[in-house]
Amino acid sequence: MNFGMSDDRRMLSDTLRRYLADAYPFEHRTAVAYDAPFHDPEKWADLAELGVFYALFSEECGGMGGHGFDIVTVFTELGRAVCPEPVLGQLLAASLLRHAPDALEPILDGSDRYALAVGEIDAPYEYGTPKTAATHVSGASYTLSGRKTVVYGAASANRFLVTASLPNGPLGLFNVSVEDIDVIGYSMIDGGPAGEVVLDSSPGTLIVDDAGPLLETTLDLGALALCAEAFGAMEIAQDMLVDYLKTRKQFGQPIGAFQALQHRAIDLAIEIEQARSIIILAASAEGTPDFPKRAAQAKHLVGRIARQVAEEAIQMHGGIGITWEYPLSHYAKRLVMIDHQLGDSDHHLERLMAGLVEG
């Protein structure tokens, strides 16, 4: 048993933490996250230079990592900084395009920014049977028509991976250029780019014609990444809370002297340890047959815990906790809204329940 971080990951973690503290101070974060393009392209280029995307790719894809714990390392740091850079799209693309060598290089160096367009109105988390339809042109060339909703990263992406139903039914995955579609970009409530993607006989290149299994594995990697991001944000929220409990005085003493608040803060600390543990378990299962179950357990637990941390940290701060200027409010928003991304706590609980009956 060894729960220590490897030297390489420790170095990556330290480098990224220092860089984000320096390049993404809180004021800068709020300045860019809510105004188009809802992130900072210069900082995106810096992240590429630092090798962040290489850490998300396996060696066979030209990267230097790609394991569960590499993903956890990167996204924990992004979460600690509530960084709005759309790195998740890059991770998902790395997984989906693992057999398309030509596409990989521009992802690794950050020159292509990918967004995964899967969700549709009325089918937010069920990706298997999209209404978006593909019509065959020739070879791997198709045209796609339909609408993808709340596509994370859309407002700043130049390439899209789009799911669509193939003429004879199966799920196809297509690579589409921003120039061939309409993107209505917007910011998320917790900052960062998103958008609606409208395809109208838009040309797309087929990547996989039975995309279900690859998509599932990829979305589980995404779920793991989001759990790690939430964990990083929770650590900061808890630090802010403990600091506030020690310094804020009412009735002549620090409010942290009150047992009613102490016990609630401790309950959060315990839940955060549970989150840390289930993320470790899921990361260690990456690449094994256990991974779908572990990823679902992680997203289920972390979704619930993240909301609890957000709500309780706000409540114990009082009014200051719901002001735009106080950083906690932005961490709290991210913590709550992560549960809306790639399947919420209930969605993953249903997956686990189905597994109970089967198992």
């Binding site: 409990l245 102490q262 989150a275 260690s284 329940m353 109970l356």
Partner: protein, 394 residues
Amino acid sequence: MDLSYSPQEQAFQAEVRAFLAEALPSDISSRVASGAGATRDDMERWHTILNEKGWLGGTWPVEHGGQGWGPIELHIFEEESALANAPRIVPFGLKMLGPVLMQFGTAAQQAEYLPRILDGRDWWCQGYSEPGAGSDLASLKTRADRDGEHYIVNGQKTWTTLGQYANRIFCLVRTKFEGKPQEGISFLLMDLDMPGVEMRPIRLIEGGYEVNEVFFTDVRVPVGNLVGEENMGWTIAKYLLGHERTNIAGTGFSVQAYAQLKDLAQRVTRNGKPLIQNPLFAARMASVEAELEAMKITNLRMLSTAAKGGQLTHEPSMLKIKGTVIRQELNDLARRALGPAAAPFPSEDLDNLAIAPPGHGHNAAGYFNNRKISIYGGSNEIQRNILAKGMMRP
């Protein structure tokens, strides 16, 4: 990052498993599995079997008749024992007094008492809590007044677990009345057949007997029965608490309880379908399973730190809270799964009626009895106070 046991640890796990499969009498394991609980005879038989193997005092150093197990070996032994439905080792002599005597006792005390703990001649019980000193243990009032070569002990202890089977008791007693309450406490050994000692059973919520009150009236105790210095009892009590906190997460119990629950939920039906297909019930099962998987990792993280000689600060209290909440949730589900079949008062006659599936006749009793686990050993609120003290430290 590596979550697996080392090859040596895996070999030890296999050895423990094989030993349990061969040496644990099936009548004992079936009583434990059913929730009826091990009898006095079961516990004594199992202690004897373990002692013959040399595993009863597994964590004791070799010179005292143990194996010198570290935290991970102890965890493997306890988890496998729970999965095999072995009775818990009665902790008072082996996990509490034994380590205390090794650390604070005289050579004479060690020579006299340690062998008798291992071979079962002595069954120790614990005299800590009092009617007026529960969570606030340091306010205890049972007094020991020096009279020549004796202490005269007067007062009352309570919640003395399995005291009805014990022949000796270790007690915290007050030997100084001024100054900080913690600085006037001593650690004293007594024989329960000394004149002036009276043990009275306390019946618990589900109808069983496992705890007692102990009354002391002018009991004359030789001063040689003092462990450590006079008034250093609080230090000893805190040392003992550290040993009591191994297995604090109770992961083995929860893993076993979850397996039994899953089996039960596949056998009982609601609306013509197995209960496990009921979405409300399945949701709670899947959720507590995820919590349990996370806690197992938290527990291994703690063990890994302890095995490397690291200082444990907040982990045991966190595990006590989370571990008991999970076990109580599993108890609740096991009770609810039975529906009305959980209602009859357990008895051997009822077992023959097969109202509940075999092995589940005590599910409600287990639920009620296990309300204790979030109360004893420092209630979950006391654990939160301990954690908060660390959190609020400047």
